[in-house]
Structure formats: C-alpha cells, structure tokens
C-alpha cells in the first residue's frame, strides 16, 4: 500500500490489516503516555483546501501521537488564495521533504492526481475529495462496527470477543440520508461490501445519485420499512449537506420540500429507535444536524457510538500513517504501484 485514495480499490486483506493495526493503536491510546516514537523524523503535511474540523484535528492528533512532524496547510491564508495551482503547491511540499500528504479537496479526484502526477514522492492519503471518497471515515466506521458487532454471541449477547482478523460478514447496515452529496456513503458502500456486510441505502429519490444501481448495495426510499424488515445491525445517519444544495426553498433546496418533512420521513427519532433490535448501534459521521436527520434522543441514546467514532478515527488514522510510512519506502515502491 503506497497511497490511500479510495475504498473501492482497497483489497479485503489490506482493509483487515488496517483494522487490526488500528485495534493495537487504540490499545496504546488508553495508556498514560499516549505518544509513540514510531514515526520520529517523518513529516506529515495536512493539505486542506476545504473546511474541516474533526478530520484535520484527527489526522494531526494521529501523526503527533506517532511522533511525526506535522505541517498544517489550509487554503485560507495561503498562496492558494493568491491563485497558486495544486501542482505548484505540491512541488513546494516536495521541496520541503514531506513524507506523507493528507489532502482534502473540493474537487473529486484531486488526491488521485496528486498521487499519480509525479509531483510528489510522498504517500498520499485522501481525507475527502468532493463527492467522491473519504476512505479513513469508512475505515473508522468499519472499525467501530467490528468492535461492537463482530464476535457477539449467536444469541445477540453483548459480550464481544476478539474481532482481530475478522471481517464484517453477515452484518446488515442501513445508511440513511443525503447519499447524493455524501463521500462517506460512497466510501462505506465499497468498504463494507468488500468486508462482507450487506448495505442498504435509504434516501428520498431526489438524494439518490444517478448510477446507484451499479453500486454493490440495495436502495430503498422508505426508512420505516427498512428498519422493520431488515433489522439492521448498524444504522448510519448521514448529514444533510445543505451547503451543497443550491436553489431556493425552505432549507432543502430543490431536494426536499422542507426540513420538517425530511425529518418525518428520514429522521432517526425515539420512535424509530424503538423499532431496532437491542444490539443495533447508531452512527453518524458528524457534524450532526440535531433535529434534522437525527433527534437529540437518538444522538444521546446509549446505543449511539458517535463520540466513540471520533476516538476510533484517531486510531484508524494512526494505523494508516503507520502502514504507509513506517516501512522501507523504496522497497514498497519497487513492489507496488
């Protein structure tokens, strides 16, 4: 593995290796001294062309916990606002000796270009590109699911065994909400499929992307039906990305009549929570629109693992940085890609 750009081309063995490594990283994070000397002397550049709080902080924390040097670069207040191109920015980073570049960009495919154009030798990690992919988010979601749901007793007991080395075979996952604008949903569909889980997307017809029939998942327009009939093991609520919804209308652009109607049909509230099996976990990639796609009751319920997802994000990103940076880069390059 030289770069992490997409979950669609991530092999099952690589995905499981990342999850297993993340489990060991998570174990080190309960120690008094959380910092490890592993990536001493390596430089990680956080290249953020798009606003982000938790992903950037999560990557920064992960790199620092592994003793890497971190350089934060955001488009605001940099030469990008003066019109510098991605190529020139990349050449600058190369000249500064970056070992890994974590990139978030509003254009789908920007990380792929950065990785393959030959501008930088660094490992490239996609931290979200346009409406395309957000692989570390999908990996942390899969990690959270595996931790809670794999190794459970057959009777649905809450005793969770050691899930190391296992995939998510047989789990049923419902991904609900604004699939159209969601790179999280795209990354999750591919990764969860690779790991053997069965994904059902639930969204209003206007928020289902064109071409969804080629994705390895089911699609439904009715949340109550899916919750009652498939009895999902995990329900992942997606943020309604109103900043990407142009057009007038009462908050929903042209995609739904008004927020109240969206909430009635696709919001997770106390009533829908009661429809779910006892072991089902509730997830959300954040930031949440409380009262729109998820009610406070659902977000704060004991089965919500939303805060844990953030903690697991650090462990997963530590694992990704370790696997990309710790080994002998020259040998890796000769062998892969």
């Amino acid at each position: 593995m030289k770069h992490l750009l997409s979950t669609a081309d991530l092999a099952r063995a690589d995905a499981i290796r990342i999850l297993d490594t993340a489990a060991q990283m998570a174990a080190t994070q309960s120690r008094e001294i959380k910092k490890l000397p592993t990536l001493r002397g390596r430089t990680v550049v956080n290249l953020f062309f798009e606003d982000s709080t938790r992903t950037r902080i999560s990557f920064e924390t992960a790199a620092k916990r592994l003793s890497a040097d971190v350089i934060n670069f955001s488009a605001k207040g940099s030469s990008v606002s003066k019109g510098e191109s991605l190529k020139d920015t990349a050449l600058t980073l190369q000249a500064m000796g970056a070992d890994a570049v974590v990139i978030r960009h509003q254009a789908s495919g920007a990380p792929h270009t950065l990785a393959h154009a030959g501008w930088v030798e660094a490992a490239v990690v996609n931290a979200g590109d346009g409406m395309h992919q957000h692989p570390t988010q999908a990996l942390l979601d899969a990690f959270t699911m595996r931790r809670h749901l794999v190794g459970r007793g057959a009777a649905g007991a809450s005793i969770v065994g050691d899930p190391t080395g296992q995939d998510l075979a047989g789990l049923r996952i419902a991904v609900v909400g604004d699939v159209l604008h969601s790179r999280v949903a795209r990354s999750n569909v591919h990764l969860l499929h690779t790991l053997g889980a069965q994904v059902t997307l639930v969204a209003p017809p206007t928020l289902v992307p064109v071409g969804v029939e080629t994705w390895p998942c089911d699609v439904s327009y009715h949340l109550d039906e899916v919750l009652a009939e498939t009895a999902p093991d995990a329900v992942m609520m997606l943020r309604v990305q109103r900043e990407r919804m142009s057009g007038s209308g009462a908050g929903g652009g042209a995609f739904f009549p008004n927020p109240l109607e969206y909430t009635r049909n696709y919001g997770l509230d106390g009533r829908r929570l009661a429809l779910l099996p006892d072991h089902t976990i509730v997830m959300h990639p954040g930031p949440m629109n409380r009262g729109l796609e998820i009610s406070a009751e659902a977000a704060d319920s004991p089965r919500a693992v939303i805060v844990e997802q953030v903690a697991n994000g650090v462990a997963v990103r530590m694992a990704v940085l370790y696997l990309l940076l710790a080994g002998d880069a020259s040998k890796e390059r000769a062998g892969l890609e």
Partner: protein, 220 residues
C-alpha cells in the same frame, strides 16, 4: 548467573548431528524444559520469592516462554496464579529499524491486571542477539509504567551484542557465527504438523546457515 559468561566463549559446544541438510538441533524438548525450570528457580532465588515478579513475553515466541515460566513459578511458589503474573509486550513501534524493513505487523500488548508499577519485570525473549529488541522493550516499558527493576531472561544467548545489554537468566549460551541463523520452534506458535513429514512439531532450538530458515529469525 550459573549459565556461564554473558559473552559466549569461542569454543564450539555443538557437534552437528546431520551436516548434510545444514540444520542442527541444539536444544530438544527436554533440554528446553530443564532450562526453563532452572530459570524459574533462579528468578525466585534472585528476587527472594516471586510475589512481586511480572513476566512480560516479547512476541512472538517470548509469550509462550513467559507462560511456561509462570507455570513453573506457580509450582515453586504455592498460591501464585500464573495468569496474574504473565503479560506480553509488543515492541514493534519502538524499534529503530522500522524504515529498513517492509512494514511489520503490530502485536498485542497485554499487561497483568495488577500492572507493572513497583514490580520486578522479567522480560522474556527466545533469542538474544544484537540487543536492539531489548532496547526497544525498555523504551516501551518506560511508556507504560515504572517497575522497580527490569530483568532479562532469554532461552538462547547467541552473542553478537550491538548494545550494552546483558541477560540475567540464560537458557543456553550459544556461540554462533554471523552467517548462522538461530531459530526457536515452540509447540504453541509453530504447532501445526510438519508439511513434509506430517509429524507433530516438538520444541527445539535449531541452527542453520542463512538464508534458509523460515520460522523465527534470530535477528534480534
């Protein structure tokens, strides 16, 4: 300790059984068992009992060795529960050679419930070689607690130290040349029957010429 000098003497102590295939069995099942029993007694003697002792095995093969030592400690010191004194300590993330090898898989670190603060930690490894693994282990220990003392037990000391590190307990001092490879085979970690013969695997310490060995490499 009674196991001889820390720096191996130069005279060879081993006569090859079967030089044709280049693999020599240095210690068999019974010898390994006897060495572990002796080490267990030495641990008890040196620490005046085993009540404060914690055994931390270094993956992969240090872990079953630590477990076997704990069982022997329990027979020497009645009332000691083996599971309460054994742990494992993964040192991968503390190694100084990470960038020289392909990415290593990180193992588990598991401490006994009582922790290691104020205890006597005995690190257990299969082959002591350069001493770099132990250097990494000492760094790892200082990140997870503050033991009263740290001691080192190795089943085999093959010499060629690159750091000022000396074992406290040695199963066997094994003078080797750098062109040789020392491998340890244990039922717990290498237990599946031999592919070639179908015979069950037994404990053994083997010496072979590089680069033939496939199991535990003595590059420590």
């Amino acid at each position: 300790m009674s196991s001889g000098p820390a720096v191996p003497s130069s005279e060879p102590t081993v006569t090859p059984e079967d030089p044709s295939d280049g693999v020599t069995t240095v210690l068999g099942e019974a010898e390994i068992a006897r060495a572990l029993t002796r080490i267990a007694h030495e641990v008890v003697e040196r620490n005046k009992g085993a009540h404060d002792v914690v055994l931390l095995g270094i993956p992969t093969r240090g872990v079953p060795l630590a477990e076997r030592l704990a069982e022997r400690l329990a027979t020497i010191e009645p009332g000691l529960v083996p599971a309460d004194v054994v742990g494992e300590l993964d040192v991968t993330m503390y190694r100084d050679d990470l960038h020289r090898h392909p990415v290593r898989t990180i193992g588990a670190t598991r401490l006994p419930a009582s922790g290691i603060d104020g205890k006597v930690v005995v690190l257990v490894d299969d082959v002591l070689f350069s001493g770099r693994t132990i250097r990494a282990a000492l760094d790892a220990i200082s990140d997870i607690g503050r033991p009263r003392a740290v001691q080192l037990a190795a089943l085999v000391d093959r010499g060629h130290r690159e750091l000022p590190i000396r074992p406290d307990y040695v199963g066997k001092n094994l003078p080797t040349s750098l062109s040789e490879r020392v491998s340890v085979r244990l039922v717990e970690t290498d237990g599946s029957p031999d592919d070639a013969t179908g015979e069950p695997v037994t404990d053994a310490v083997l010496i072979s010429q590089r680069p033939t060995s496939t199991s535990s490499e003595g590059t420590r």
